[in-house]
């Protein structure tokens, strides 16, 4: 599998002296579906913010397709889409359409292409009918899908979801999970940061466990699942439960 994103010895120490990420090495292959799990404060969000240069490492480097992302940060941000936990803080448009157009506008694309990309992205997430609606009046699940559309309109290769199921009801989780699985089927590389292994692990090719700033486990989900509770992550309920059943999609 071709490596698309490579993290080398990445360390991040904040100004107050706290080291959130410690010498992390990681490679993401093209088309992989990876789940990154870990307890609160284990450094997951800090780590993913380095992927497209939102945070600069204290030590180490991030390579996208073999090139350091610092060479072209805009390209890294276009190719690696980050979808944050709080969907509200990602909404910058007054209508759904305007919000999706924000990214392509920043890429200075021509109006016609922006329109096409916005239409395609809204269609992909099933929000075409809500183009004129105010984003803040959407439901939780719709807001997450809007955030996905905003990223899709920039044509990324890798999409990173930070706690995509937090605060969603059952239909909301199903909507978002379907979206994630569809994106993977269409060829995107997916990284999902979550505690809720039960909802998504069946779709993953690989499970990463992060604890105290380090990646402590990296491998096939079935090989690691029995160890997750050692690191403060809830193992999906059911004795001897197989990984294939760990999904909310039926």
């Amino acid at each position: 599998m071709t490596t698309i994103l490579q993290i080398e010895e990445l360390t991040h120490t904040f100004a107050n002296g706290v080291t959130a990420v410690k010498a992390v090495n990681l490679q993401l292959g093209k088309g992989e579906f990876v789940v990154l799990a870990g307890p609160n404060g284990s450094g997951k969000t800090v780590l993913i913010k380095h992927f497209n240069g939102l945070l600069q490492p204290t030590k180490g480097r991030v390579l996208l397709a073999g090139e350091p992302i610092t060479k072209n940060l805009l390209l890294a941000r276009q190719k690696i889409g980050l979808i944050f936990q709080d969907a509200d803080s990602q909404i910058v448009g007054q209508t759904v359409t305007e919000d999706v157009a924000f990214g392509p506008e920043n890429l200075c694309l021509p109006r016609e292409e922006i329109r096409e990309r916005v239409d395609r992205a809204l269609q992909a997430v099933g929000l075409s009918e809500l183009g004129h609606v105010r984003p803040h009046t959407l439901s939780g699940g719709q807001k997450r899908r809007l955030a996905v559309a905003g990223i899709l309109a920039m044509a990324p290769q890798i999409i990173v979801f930070d706690e995509p199921f937090t605060g969603l009801d059952y239909p909301g989780v199903i909507q978002v999970l379907k979206q994630i699985v569809d994106l993977h089927k269409k060829g995107h590389t997916i990284l999902v940061v979550t505690h809720d292994l039960e909802k998504v692990l069946a779709h993953a090719d690989r499970l990463l466990i992060m604890n105290e700033g380090r990646i402590v486990r990296d491998g096939k989900p079935e090989a690691i699942i029995d160890e997750v509770e050692r690191f403060g992550i809830k193992k999906p309920y059911g004795k001897g439960r197989r990984v294939e059943t760990m999904t909310w999609l039926t």
Binding site: G93, E98, N106, C108
Partner: protein, 254 residues
Amino acid sequence: MADLNIFHYWPQETFLHRMDPRIKLVCLLILSITGGLADTAPALTILTMMVIALLYVAKLPFTKIMAEIRIFLLFILCIMLIHALRVPGEPLPLWAGGRFFTREGMFSGLFYGWRIILLLLLSAILTATTTLSALREGIQSILRPVPFVPEEKIATMFSLVLSFIPLLLDRAVEIAEAQKARCVQKRKNPVKRLSCLVYPFLSQAFLYAEEVVTAMEARCYTGRRTVSGFYLTTSGLLCLALTILISLVICIVL
């Protein structure tokens, strides 16, 4: 509360919605100055009629907009009261507060309140008929010739403020309700009660602003964005000319 916002785009197919945002911004500026200079009842009446006509042409929900203006009512009343108190003149009868208020002060206060409502309605018409991106580009285009002015940043800040007013209102309501649940109303000191609301609100607003900045950067925001070319149309120029004419009539004749 996220739904409660008069300064929001209302999609419609009208002449005002299609108009060049630069023309709308200049007209708003001219009419605001006219409103500030108008100090007679006939002048303000003509301006009010014009605003009502614009609301009708733009097919905007008049009653809903007026209902939402009530949020500003306290602010408007305070301004009216301050004016009524500080303008000297003929005292009102004692039963009408004659020890404190004058006839001239009362009229001055009323006119100020009237002007503020007109200004709010004009701003509402602008934002209701113009998408944020068009408004941002309009501001950017108007400010571009001005030296040493970061027009892209100003335009983006303006559009973000409009976009986040409902969310900030939401957060303020949530904080107030959480404090009510902890019996904040038992505190008699209004300053203390206000500080209980303001401190968490501001700290949340700053945290929220930081999250928004991160999300914008993640979507390649640098300040440079796609710009659509605007073309001045005859109808737009006619509208501008009409605005100037009405403003001159109000300022000079009335």
